[in-house]
């Protein structure tokens, strides 16, 4: 006499099939695809900054732009408004870009870590868009400019206070390569 109840066949079939699925998933993880890796995009990552690198870069080079013009602007918390200090930087950028018209440009928008992921992606996009629109208003052709948002996923500064978060709320103008 058996008091066991039997299980649904579909579940047993799934269990039996499971190893196949696992094997395929593992194959996938080994056979991933390659894409462009992140390149240095600012003075800190290049080991350059205004204090010890100013003037050393070749005029018209990306280093010149980063070091002597300033490749980034900063934003207030949860804001995409262009601040007065930021507009000065963007004015210099627009001037430089007019002088060196062969560079295509990508404006990267970023958020600090004090927000949720999805919103910060959109906030970064809003900041990139604000910077782009400012540059266009200063004569940079819109077709030279692309934008991308990284949300809170690419902080430059890592710490746990306000001074640090303020460095991460930024839009970085990246030269996308001459002659593009």
């Amino acid at each position: 006499m058996s008091r066991f109840t039997s299980t649904a066949p579909s579940r047993m079939q799934t269990l039996a099939r499971n190893p196949v699925m696992v094997a395929l998933v593992l194959t996938l993880s080994l056979a991933g695809c390659k894409s462009k890796s992140g390149l240095p995009n600012n003075a800190n990552e290049l080991g350059l900054n205004g204090a010890n690198g100013a003037g050393a870069a070749t005029p018209g080079s990306p280093q010149d732009f980063t070091v002597n013009v300033g490749d980034r602007i900063f934003f207030d918390t949860d804001s995409s408004a262009i601040r007065a200090d930021a507009s000065q930087t963007l004015d210099r950028q627009a001037q430089w870009l007019a002088q060196y018209p062969n560079y295509a440009i990508t404006v990267e928008g970023h958020a600090d870590e004090r927000g949720t992921r999805e919103y910060n992606l959109a906030l970064g996009a809003r900041r990139a868009s604000a910077a782009k629109n400012y540059l266009v208003s200063r004569g940079v052709p819109a077709n030279r400019l692309q934008t991308i948002s990284y949300g809170k996923e690419k902080p430059v500064a890592v710490c746990d206070d306000i001074s640090c978060w303020s460095q991460n709320r930024r839009a970085v103008t990246v030269l996308g390569g001459a002659g593009m």
Binding site: R3, F4, T5, S6, T7, S10, R11, M12, T14, L15, A16, N18, P19, V20, M21, V22, L24, V25, L26, T27, L28, S29, A31, G32, C33, K34, S35, K36, S37, G38, S80, E113, R114, G115, T116, R117, E118, Y119, L121, A122, L123, A125, R126, S129, A130, I148, S149, Y150, E153, K154, P155, V156, A157, V158, C159, D160
Partner: protein, 434 residues
């Protein structure tokens, strides 16, 4: 004879269900105050050649303990040594150690190599068998069988579906915060069997399970084009969802698995779109000069909750599945985001930012009854267990570390860390496996 057995079985079930309900009543009372006593249960070592039987029993015990509703009794306290799991146990021996329920079982190998796992759940005070079931599987699936048995015990005693035979997809993070590598990964709900699903070359975010298929939707920065993708778990096949002119993000499936709902970024605005995966047609649901994102369907598919900063700060809104009747539901202090509709339909979980803290909370779909479950420096991104009783989310401390996954009961009790090999964020719970 069969009728008699059936009747006794039903009666035993009723007795225990009543007991379980009173246990739940205590849990509910303790939302406002103390903490419910979990049900003492004895899980004897399954009979087997070798260690597999005790290993299966240990997984069952761990599942039940982590639920917070059961207190598996230390095996050292057992008086009766179970030698035949088909035989009625000496109930007095189990009552003497206050075991309200007893699990016995056996694992054997079939001629074709498959495992056969059988268990019986006994009501010790009612002196009856509550249920008995058997399962067949390949030996490498032994943990899954243990989870299935734990689900059967959970359901028998609580009257609600379990959630142990489930998996969690998440983002596995490694490296320093300013050069973080991210990979999609999947694991059993208890943190075992972690496997990565993508390489670490591209930023990947917000994976979500299909409710109906072995499929995930997620966001990837592949080729510097931030877009929503689909990933078939069984084949590894990937594809971009739709052909949108800008960043698409924050995807989720509709409850029938036939649509993906997501945000499309255009200039400074994000609006919500759906794409029908069969016809490939897209439908725009919101049109504001604001950030509308994190859409999540009600389980019947008739409504959508999302976050929007159209009123200034991020707040939660509910609309019809066609975008009609967009109504704000959150009105507390602070900002509300990442809403997720419970699979039971009764609650919406969210992240709340207020006073420099990040909390996980729940509210009713009309915005009433807000309850904060956990608060700290950074808690984000809740996901529901398929039975709507447990939430998982990620937590991050200030500074240079990384996020970890936690689960918490709907009551706000029984917070547990889910240990992962690397940092982990963006958990999404699977449906019960079929």
């Amino acid at each position: 004879m069969m009728n008699l057995l059936l009747k006794r079985g039903v009666m035993a079930l009723l007795v225990i269900v009543a007991a379980a309900h009173s246990a739940f009543a205590e849990v509910r009372i303790n939302i406002r105050g103390g903490r419910a006593e979990p049900l003492p249960i004895a899980i004897s070592d399954f009979m087997s050649k070798g260690d597999l039987g005790p290993q299966i029993s240990a997984v069952i015990a761990a599942d039940l303990r982590r639920s917070g509703l059961f207190a598996p009794i230390d095996k050292a306290a057992f008086i009766e040594k179970i030698s035949n799991p088909d035989q009625q146990p000496r109930f007095d021996d189990w009552k003497a150690i206050n075991a309200q329920a007893l699990v016995t079982g056996r694992v054997t190998q079939e001629g074709d190599g498959r495992l056969r796992a059988e268990f019986r759940l006994w009501d010790t005070f009612g002196a009856t068998q509550m249920t008995g079931q058997q399962f067949f599987t390949q030996p490498e699936n032994w943990r899954r069988v243990a989870h299935i048995i734990a689900d059967a015990i959970y359901k028998q005693i609580t009257g609600e579906d379990g959630y142990f035979d489930t998996r969690v997809v998440f983002v596995s993070e490694s490296g320093p915060k300013n050069a973080r590598k991210r990979q999609l990964a999947i694991m059993d709900q208890d943190g075992f069997n972690v496997r990565t699903l993508t390489n670490a070359n591209d930023i990947v975010l917000t994976p979500r399970f299909s409710p109906s298929k072995q499929e995930i939707t997620y966001m990837s920065f592949e080729n510097n084009q931030p877009r929503v993708y689909l990933l078939q778990l069984e084949t590894g096949q990937r594809e971009m969802v739709g052909n949108f002119p800008g960043m698409t993000f924050s995807p989720r499936f509709s409850p029938d698995g036939q649509r993906v709902i997501m945000s499309l970024q255009q200039e400074g605005n994000a609006n919500i779109y759906t794409m029908d995966l069969r016809s490939r047609t897209t439908t725009r649901l919101t049109s504001t000069a604001a950030i509308d994102t994190s859409p999540s369907y009600s389980p019947d598919g008739s409504r959508i909750v999302f976050e929007s900063d159209r009123g200034g700060k991020q707040q939660l809104y509910v609309m019809g599945a066609d975008g009609s009747g967009q109504t704000r539901i959150s009105f507390g202090d602070g900002a509300y985001s990442t809403p997720v509709w419970s699979p039971r339909g009764d609650l919406i979980a969210f992240t709340k930012q207020s006073g420099g803290k990040f909390s996980i909370g729940v509210m009713k779909p009309d915005g009433s009854g807000e309850r904060i479950l956990t608060t700290g420096f950074h808690n984000e991104g809740p996901t529901w267990a398929p039975n709507g009783r447990v939430l998982m989310f990620f937590r991050e401390a200030a500074g240079a570390g990384g996020p970890q996954l936690y689960s918490i009961d709907l009551t706000g009790y029984n917070e547990q860390v889910i240990k992962t090999p690397a940092y982990a964020s963006d958990p999404a719970w699977s449906p019960l496996m079929e």
